[in-house]
C-alpha cells in the first residue's frame, strides 16, 4: 500500500529510447530542461536501429554513412555524457490525460506524474491479417522487420527460398540481407505501379543483386498446410482489382511482408490524444504538441518516416515547445489550419500557432518529375520551391517563416506540376 501510491514527479518524460526519443531527450537537455526521464522497454537504447546493421544512416545528419547501431550510438553517447536518466527494460502501460504514467518493470509497478510527455513509441508493421491474404495460415510468413530481428539479432534464419511482398524499405533491405546470408530471394512484388521504397534501396538492394522487382503484382493465395509451400502471384488489373484467374504458382519456403508501418499510438489513445486518420499519428502543431497540452509526439509514432535523420530532426525540434510549455504552462493556440491541396497525401503539422519556426513535412500522393511546392493562405503564396522529382516514398521537409503567416486563415500546401512562373 505504501509503495503503490508513491508517485515520482518529472518535468519531462520521454516514452521510447529509439531514434526519436534519443534525439528529443538530448535536445531537451541541451535546451536547459534538467528534470528528464527517458523510458525504454528494451534492454538497450537505440530501438529498431539496433537491428538495422546495414549502412546509409546519418548522411544528412552527420554527413557520413553509418550503420543503425553506429547512428544510435552517437545519440546514446550524448545521453550518457549529459547524464540523462534512463529507465531500461521498462514498459509504459498507462498514460492518463493528466500525464500520469504507469510503468512496469521487474522492480515493480511505478507511477510517474509528468509535467510534459514526449511520445516516441515508434511504429509496428502491417501484418498478413490486416491486409487479408487468402490461403492457408501455416508457418513461414514473416513481416520484414521481424525477419530482420530474427536474422540480425538472434541468428535465426527465416527461410532459404524467399518471396517478398511489398517494396517498402525494410523489405528491400531484407532482400539484400537474405541474399548475403545465402538465401535465394526470388522476387519482390509491389501492387502499385511504382516502388514504395527509396530509389537508393531499389538500386543497392535489388538491382545490384539481380533480384527482380515486379510491379502491379501481389500474392493472391498462400499454399501449404502446416508450413507454406508456395504462393500464387497475380497481376493487378487497371481497376486496381487482383486478378486471381491470371495467377501463377511459385514455390517458396517463406514469405516476407513489407506492406507498411503503423504508428503505435496505444498510449496516445489512452491519454485522449486526437489522431489523424491519414497518418495514424497525432494531430500536432509546429511545436509537435498534440491535442493534449503538454503531450508532444515525434518520430514514427507521429508519422512514418523513410529516413532516420528526419526522425532525429523531428525529435530535436520538440525541445523548444517543451521548454516553452514548462515555463509558461501552456503554448499559443494553433489557430491556423494546415490542409493538403493537390498531389499531397498528407502534411504535418496539421495546425500552426504562428509563434514558432515551422517545418512542414509532406508526402506526395503520386510520383512525378519537376513539381513546385506552394504554401498559400487565401490564395496568397507565402513560399514556393521547385522539386526536381516527387516520390510518395520520400517525405519532404520544408521550412516556413512563421512571420509570413496570417493568423486565423488556413494554410494550403499543394504540389503543382512544372516550375511555377511568378
Amino acid at each position: 500500500m505504501t509503495k503503490r501510491h508513491m508517485t515520482d514527479r518529472k518535468d519531462c518524460v520521454i516514452i521510447g529510447g529509439g531514434a526519436a526519443g534519443l534525439a528529443a531527450a538530448a535536445a531537451c537537455r541541451e535546451n536547459g530542461i534538467e528534470d528528464i526521464l527517458l523510458i525504454e522497454r528494451g534492454e538497450v537504447l537505440g530501438g529498431i536501429l539496433n537491428q538495422c546493421i546495414h549502412d546509409g544512416f546519418g548522411l544528412h545528419k552527420f554527413s557520413e554513412t553509418l550503420t543503425g547501431p553506429e547512428y544510435a550510438q552517437r545519440y546514446i553517447d550524448m545521453i550518457t555524457s549529459r547524464g540523462i536518466p534512463v529507465l531500461l527494460n521498462s514498459m509504459v502501460t498507462g498514460l492518463s490525460p493528466d500525464k500520469v504514467l504507469t510503468v512496469i518493470n521487474r522492480g515493480g509497478l511505478h507511477r510517474i506524474q509528468a509535467r510534459s510527455v514526449i511520445l516516441a513509441m515508434g511504429s509496428r508493421e502491417r501484418t498478413r491479417g490486416a491486409i487479408g491474404i487468402p490461403g492457408s495460415r501455416g508457418a513461414g510468413i514473416f513481416t520484414a522487420g521481424v525477419a530482420q530481428n530474427l536474422i540480425n539479432m538472434k541468428n535465426f534464419m527465416t527461410g532459404r527460398r524467399v518471396i517478398i511482398l511489398g517494396s517498402g524499405d525494410i523489405g528491400l533491405i531484407m532482400a539484400r540481407r537474405l541474399t548475403l546470408e545465402g538465401a535465394k530471394v526470388l522476387m519482390v512484388l509491389e501492387k502499385l505501379p511504382y516502388p514504395s521504397g527509396l530509389p537508393r534501396n531499389i538500386n543497392q538492394c535489388l538491382r545490384d543483386f539481380d533480384i527482380p522487382l515486379h510491379l502491379r503484382r501481389t500474392v493472391s493465395y498462400i499454399h501449404g498446410g502446416g508450413h507454406l509451400t508456395g504462393v500464387d502471384i497475380a497481376p493487378i488489373g487497371d481497376n486496381g482489382e487482383i486478378q486471381p484467374d491470371r495467377a501463377e504458382y511459385m514455390e517458396c519456403d517463406s514469405l516476407l511482408l513489407s506492406v507498411g508501418l503503423i504508428p503505435e499510438n496505444e498510449l496516445s489513445r489512452q491519454a485522449g490524444v486526437q489522431l489523424d486518420p491519414v497518418t495514424g499519428g497525432a494531430v500536432v502543431d509546429e511545436y509537435g504538441q498534440t491535442s493534449v497540452p503538454g503531450i508532444f509526439s515525434c518520430g514514427n509514432v507521429l508519422q512514418i518516416h523513410d529516413l532516420v535523420d528526419n526522425v532525429s530532426l523531428e525529435g530535436e525540434a520538440l525541445a523548444l515547445g517543451v521548454k516553452r510549455y514548462l515555463e509558461a504552462g501552456k503554448l499559443a493556440e494553433p489557430g491556423i489550419k494546415v490542409f493538403p491541396g493537390q498531389n499531397i497525401r498528407y502534411c504535418l503539422p496539421q495546425h500552426l500557432s504562428g509563434q514558432a519556426p515551422a517545418v512542414i513535412s509532406f508526402r506526395p500522393s503520386v510520383p512525378g518529375k519537376l513539381h513546385t511546392i506552394i504554401f498559400s493562405q487565401n490564395g496568397k503564396i507565402l513560399r514556393k520551391k521547385s522539386l526536381l522529382k516527387i516520390n510518395p516514398a520520400e517525405m519532404e521537409r520544408i521550412e516556413l517563416d512563421s512571420a509570413l503567416l496570417e493568423s486565423g486563415s488556413p494554410l494550403q500546401v499543394e504540389l503543382v506540376p512544372g516550375r511555377l512562373q511568378s
Binding site: G107, E125, T127, F156, G159, G226, I242
Partner: protein, 508 residues
C-alpha cells in the same frame, strides 16, 4: 505400470472440447481412461475455430439431443467455467429482423426456444434494439436472448483436459488413430455377460488396449468409426471463415448480433460476436468443401464477410481487421439437403464397446458437458454389464486453476504479482500485455504441448493487433535460452510447421 502396457478401460479418440469433456467426466469414476489426440495439442479442430458462443438452445428442433443438450449446457455453463477457471460472459444475444417480413420467423424461433425450455426470450422493437446496440444500422425488431453467452472455446478445452489429467486420465498428443482391431473375446472380457470384445488401437506409434472405445473425432468421426468396422456414417466438412477485429472495435458491439436464420441453412448466418478478450468476430461463412483439413481462407468469402459486417455497422471497416481464420463443421447433412441432423451418440449394436459420437457440430461447445454426462452413463452401463461396479473417485479434484492474467488485474494486484515474481514485471507481448511469467507458464503447460500456437492459445501472446510482431522473437529467444529448445525444433502448430525453416544463419 499402466503407462507401459497402455491398457485402459476406456480410450477416447479425439481431444476436442467434447472428447476432453468426456475425459473429465470419466475422471470422476474409478476407471482407467486415456485420451488420444492426433495433433500436438488438444482442441485444434473445430474447438478452437468457432464463435465461442454458449447458445441458449432455441435454434434446435424440439426433441433432439441437440436441443436438450444445448439447453442443459447453457444452464450449467457458468458453473462449469467457474469450476475450471475459464472466461465466461453472459452478454446476451440479439437475433435481428431487418423488416416486418422477418418477424414471423423470429416468433417461430421464440416459440421453438420455449418448447425447448429456453428461459428469458423476449421480442423487442427496433428502438429497444438500438438502445442495446446503438451502432446497428438496420433493426426493425429482434428476439433478445439474455442467457446467450460467450466463452473461450480453446481455454475451456485446455481446462477440461488439464482437469482430466489432474484426475488421472492419461493424455497422448500426436497420437492419431491409425488402426483399430478387435481383441478376441475371453482375453479382455470382464465377465460372462460383459464386454465380449475389446479393442487394440494403434496410434502415435503405440499399441493401446481398451475395453471401451469412444469416438469423439469430430470431422474424422465417420472415418474412425469405419476403422472400428462400423461403416454407417458420412461427414460432410463444411467450412466457416471468420475475420478477427481489433479490440478497438470491441466497444462498438455489446451483444451477440445474429441475423434471422434462413430456412434450410446449415449455419446460423454471418454474425457479430464479441469475444471474452474484447475482440469482435465476423463470420462464419457456410461452405461445403472436399477436405476436412483445408482451413484456408478465401478471397470471395473474405469480401462477403467484410460487406456483411459493414451492413450491420458501417464503422466495422477493414482498418479493424487483425486476422482471419476458418473452422470446420462436422455435418451429417449432405450439401444438397442442408439443415441439421441430430447428434449420433450411442454404443454401436454391431460393435459392442464402441461409443460413437458423430455429427457433433454447433452447438457442440455449449452441449459438451451434457454430452459428456450422457456418454459417461453409457460407459457405466457397459462396464456394469460386465458385472463390475463403477464408483466415483472420492478424491476427484473438481476445480482447476488457470494462470493469473496479469493484464486483467488492477494495479495493486499487479504490483503484488511483480513483488512475488519479477517475471510478472517483464512484458513480452505488448499488445495484450502478457508477461514473461505467463509465457513461462504456457511453455510449462501440464499437457506438455510445445508449439508456438500452444503458447498462443494459453497465454494470448501473439493474438493482438501486431500479431506477434513484437513478441514472437522474444518467445523464440526464451525457448532457446531458457528451455534449450533450438530454433529448428520449434513448430508453429501442426507437425512439420517449422517456424524457422531456414534453421540457423551460420548453418546451411
Amino acid at each position: 505400470m499402466k503407462a507401459q502396457d497402455f491398457s485402459y478401460d476406456v480410450i477416447i479418440a479425439g481431444g476436442g472440447v467434447v472428447g476432453c469433456a468426456i475425459a473429465r467426466e470419466l475422471s470422476r469414476l474409478d476407471l482407467n481412461t486415456a485420451l488420444l489426440e492426433k495433433e500436438p495439442d488438444v482442441g485444434w479442430g473445430a474447438s478452437c475455430r468457432n464463435s465461442g458462443v454458449v447458445h441458449a438452445g432455441y435454434n434446435n428442433t424440439p426433441g433432439t439431443l441437440m436441443a436438450k443438450f444445448c439447453v442443459e449446457g447453457n444452464q450449467g455453463f457458468e458453473v462449469l467455467c467457474a469450476e475450471l477457471d475459464v472466461p465466461y460472459k453472459k452478454v446476451g444475444k440479439l437475433v435481428v429482423a431487418d423488416g416486418p417480413d422477418e418477424v414471423p420467423a423470429l416468433e417461430r424461433l421464440k416459440a421453438q426456444g420455449e418448447t425447448n425450455g429456453v428461459r428469458g426470450l423476449e421480442m423487442i422493437d427496433g428502438d429497444r434494439v438500438r438502445e442495446l446496440e446503438p451502432h446497428l444500422e438496420h433493426a426493425y425488431a429482434a428476439m433478445y436472448s439474455p442467457n446467450s453467452a460467450i466463452t473461450s472455446p480453446y481455454l475451456l478445452t485446455i481446462a477440461l483436459a488439464e482437469n482430466a489429467l489432474a484426475n488421472g486420465v492419461d493424455i497422448f498428443l500426436n497420437s492419431g488413430v491409425e488402426r483399430i482391431d478387435r481383441t478376441p473375446s475371453a482375453s479382455t472380457a470382464g465377465g460372462p455377460e460383459g464386454i465380449r470384445e475389446g479393442f487394440i488401437v494403434k496410434a502415435g506409434g503405440r499399441e493401446f488396449r481398451t475395453r471401451i472405445l469412444i469416438n469423439s473425432a469430430g470431422v474424422n468421426s465417420a472415418e474412425l468409426s469405419r476403422l472400428a468396422g462400423v461403416d454407417l456414417y458420412t461427414i460432410y466438412p463444411c467450412r466457416g471463415e471468420y475475420y478477427v477485429l481489433d479490440t478497438y472495435a470491441g466497444e462498438l458491439v455489446q451483444h451477440l448480433v445474429y441475423p434471422v436464420p434462413k430456412p434450410g441453412s446449415g449455419g446460423l448466418g454471418i454474425h457479430l460476436t464479441p469475444t471474452v478478450d474484447g475482440n469482435i468476430l465476423i463470420g462464419p461463412s457456410n461452405e461445403y468443401i472436399e477436405s476436412a483439413e483445408d482451413y484456408s481462407v478465401t478471397a470471395p468469402v473474405m469480401k462477403t464477410l467484410s460487406e456483411e459486417a459493414r451492413s450491420y455497422m458501417p464503422q466495422l471497416n477493414g482498418g479493424f481487421y487483425i486476422r482471419s481464420f476458418a473452422g470446420m463443421r462436422a455435418k451429417q447433412t449432405p450439401p444438397e439437403k442442408g439443415g441439421y441432423f441430430d447428434y449420433v451418440i450411442k454404443e454401436e449394436e454391431t460393435c459392442p464397446g464402441l461409443i460413437n459420437l458423430v455429427g457433433i457440430e454447433s452447438p457442440g461447445l455449449t452441449a459438451s458437458a451434457p454430452i459428456a454426462r450422457y456418454v459417461s452413463g453409457i460407459v457405466r452401463n457397459i462396464v456394469e454389464r460386465s458385472g463390475r461396479e463403477v464408483c466415483g473417485k472420492p478424491d476427484f479434484i473438481l476445480k482447476r486453476t488457470a494462470p493469473v492474467r496479469f493484464a486483467e488485474q488492477d494495479d495493486e494486484v499487479k504490483a503484488k504479482l511483480i513483488a512475488g515474481d519479477p517475471d510478472y514485471g517483464e512484458i513480452i507481448c505488448r499488445c495484450e500485455q502478457i508477461t514473461k511469467k505467463e509465457i513461462r507458464q504456457a511453455i510449462e503447460n501440464p499437457l506438455g504441448a510445445r508449439s508456438l500456437n500452444s503458447i498462443k492459445y494459453r497465454s494470448r501472446a501473439m493474438m493482438g493487433r501486431c500479431q506477434g510482431g513484437y513478441c514472437t522473437q522474444r518467445i523464440l529467444q526464451i525457448l532457446r535460452d531458457e528451455y534449450g529448445i533450438m530454433p529448428e525444433e520449434i513448430e508453429l502448430g501442426k507437425n512439420g510447421s517449422w517456424v524457422l525453416s531456414g534453421g540457423r544463419c551460420d548453418v546451411t
